[in-house]
């Protein structure tokens, strides 16, 4: 087995092209588990931790460009203000030690349906930017995962960055686990309110072969808010609660968008139920933040 250590993105791309079977490794929190247990024996490991272009984040034209190598710890400490949903999700990942190493790019690359950041990326309409010998492409996060632990990356193609707007409005993220730390999501839910574009974003995790949005729930809520004229936010809105019937309906529609299975972590029926509860609560909190002027 070879150990490849490119020193720049160009070199990384070139190396990946030459060794299409090499497994990229950054934080190692997924790859090394497979290595330690003998489940994976690739011909080479492609170490991305010395590629400076992947390690940082920047703002350009109002868009955030977060390098694939940015760790969960950095998402929490440096991007918590601009990307509160992502920071919330990052805080639920693993442990402090895991958060110091695990990366946003890794969460995408592993393409687990339980990836904690993925519902947030879907809810905020994030775009994945890749790099390869034949160029770069941009893939909406919602289209990035194609199946359990499968994504659209071609051999030799690397994740370079994630592009997304700073939170345009309140964001919330919830994750159900049977323990208070270091737990794979039984089900998770992300929601984002975008008043400027009158858009609701959602993301469901661990309840389908891939993370997915709940378009019917999004349209329903957007319709309710538009119909009641609630996208504007004058002072009178401080008392504009959402009807519990609307909250419930939003939860039902979110749960209906999922296709959960029963496995060691939970049953399909429980996951469906948990999604409805989380969606309802997350929306209530996001709405509360909105009418009291927090977020975005």
């Amino acid at each position: 087995m070879e150990f490849l250590r490119p020193r720049s993105l160009a070199e990384a791309v070139e190396t990946a092209h030459r060794y299409p079977e090499a497994v990229p490794i950054a934080g190692g929190t997924d790859v090394m588990v497979d290595m330690n247990f003998g489940r994976r024996r690739p011909p080479a490991l492609l170490d991305l931790t010395r590629v400076p272009e992947l390690a940082g984040w920047e703002t350009a034209d109002g868009l955030l460009r977060v390098g694939a190598g940015v760790t969960y710890a950095t998402l929490i400490t440096e991007l918590g203000g601009l990307l509160p949903g992502l920071a919330m999700a990052s805080r639920t990942v693993g442990s402090p030690q895991i958060r110091n190493r695990g990366t946003l790019g890794g969460n995408l690359g592993s393409a687990s349906p339980a990836g904690d950041t993925l519902p947030v990326l879907l809810a905020s309409g994030a775009v994945v930017e890749t790099a390869s010998a034949w160029g770069s492409r941009q893939i909406p996060a919602a289209d990035f995962c194609t199946g359990v632990k499968q994504n659209v990356l071609r051999p030799g193609e690397l994740i370079a960055a994630v592009l997304l707007r700073p939170a345009p409005g309140p964001q919330q993220f919830c994750k159900v686990g049977t323990r208070n730390a270091m737990v794979i999501a039984v089900a998770s839910f992300a929601v984002e309110l975008d008043p400027a574009r009158r858009r609701v974003g959602t993301g469901i995790g661990s309840a389908a072969p891939t993370p997915r949005r709940a378009p019917a729930a999004e349209e329903f809520l957007a319709g309710v808010l538009a119909g009641r004229g609630l996208w504007e936010r004058p002072a009178e809105l401080a008392n504009a609660e959402l009807d519990s019937a609307d909250l419930d309906r939003f939860g039902e529609l979110a749960a209906a968008a999922a296709a959960p299975i029963s496995d060691v972590r939970g049953t399909a029926a429980y996951r469906t139920h948990a999604l409805a509860v989380m969606a309802r609560r997350a929306l209530r909190w996001a709405w509360h933040d909105y009418i009291h002027g927090y977020g975005g």
């Binding site: 087995m1 070879e2 150990f3 250590r5 490794i25 934080g27 190692g28 929190t29 790859v31 090394m32 588990v33 290595m35 330690n36 247990f37 024996r41 080479a44 490991l45 170490d47 931790t49 710890a73 693993g94 442990s95 402090p96 030690q97 895991i98 110091n100 190493r101 208070n180 730390a181 270091m182």
Partner: protein
């Protein structure tokens, strides 16, 4: 391949390292530093916690090659970094020059089988370096990645509080800085 890095302040190298080995394996089996432990080798227990370039990581999840030229601190090197002057345990040769977190763990009864102890001590020392007076909630969240099967964590919390209190007391003691002033 050859992997060389700085471990506990010393430049060390290991030869014939297989690319699939973890930093944990290199430390334990090649560099003669078995203090970091191998309870799960999948990042779920924290017993392999080391400091790498200033932050705590699970050494079992660091590929050996990724450690090249990095600065690594293990439990074996902890005492040298933060021993309190004059804080010596009673008894001949017992604990002279331990890091305050190590000392507190021993005194507070936070060590039973001890397998989790090195990882917990490294993680707790790192916490106290960054947050000298943590609340209980902060201690718990910082140590959430370190499993212990023996203690139920109560005396581990006692130990971290004790170490924090002692470090705070040391920081306030007059004459601590170089160039002692009048007392």
């Amino acid at each position: 391949m050859r992997v060389s890095c700085t471990v506990n302040g010393e430049r060390l190298a290991a030869d014939d390292v297989w690319a699939g080995e973890s930093l944990l394996y290199v430390l334990r089996e090649r560099l003669g530093l078995p203090g970091s432990k191998n309870a799960c080798e999948q990042g779920e227990c924290g017993s392999c916690t080391v400091v790498m370039d200033g932050v705590t990581v699970c050494a079992c999840l660091v590929a050996a090659g990724q450690a090249q030229d990095r600065d690594i601190q293990t439990v074996e090197g902890l005492a040298a970094t933060g021993a309190i002057e004059g804080a010596v345990l009673e008894g001949p040769g017992q604990g002279a020059g331990l890091h305050p977190v190590q000392q507190a763990f021993v005194e507070a009864g936070a060590v039973q089988c001890g397998f989790c102890t090195p990882g917990l001590i490294v993680q707790a020392a790192s916490l106290l370096r960054d947050v000298p007076e943590p609340s209980d909630a902060e201690i718990r969240e910082a140590l959430a990645g370190n499993l212990c099967r023996c203690t139920g964590y109560e005396k581990i919390l006692d130990a971290v509080r004790l170490a924090a209190a002692r470090q705070a007391g040391q920081a306030r003691r007059p004459g601590r800085d170089a160039g002692q002033g009048p007392r």
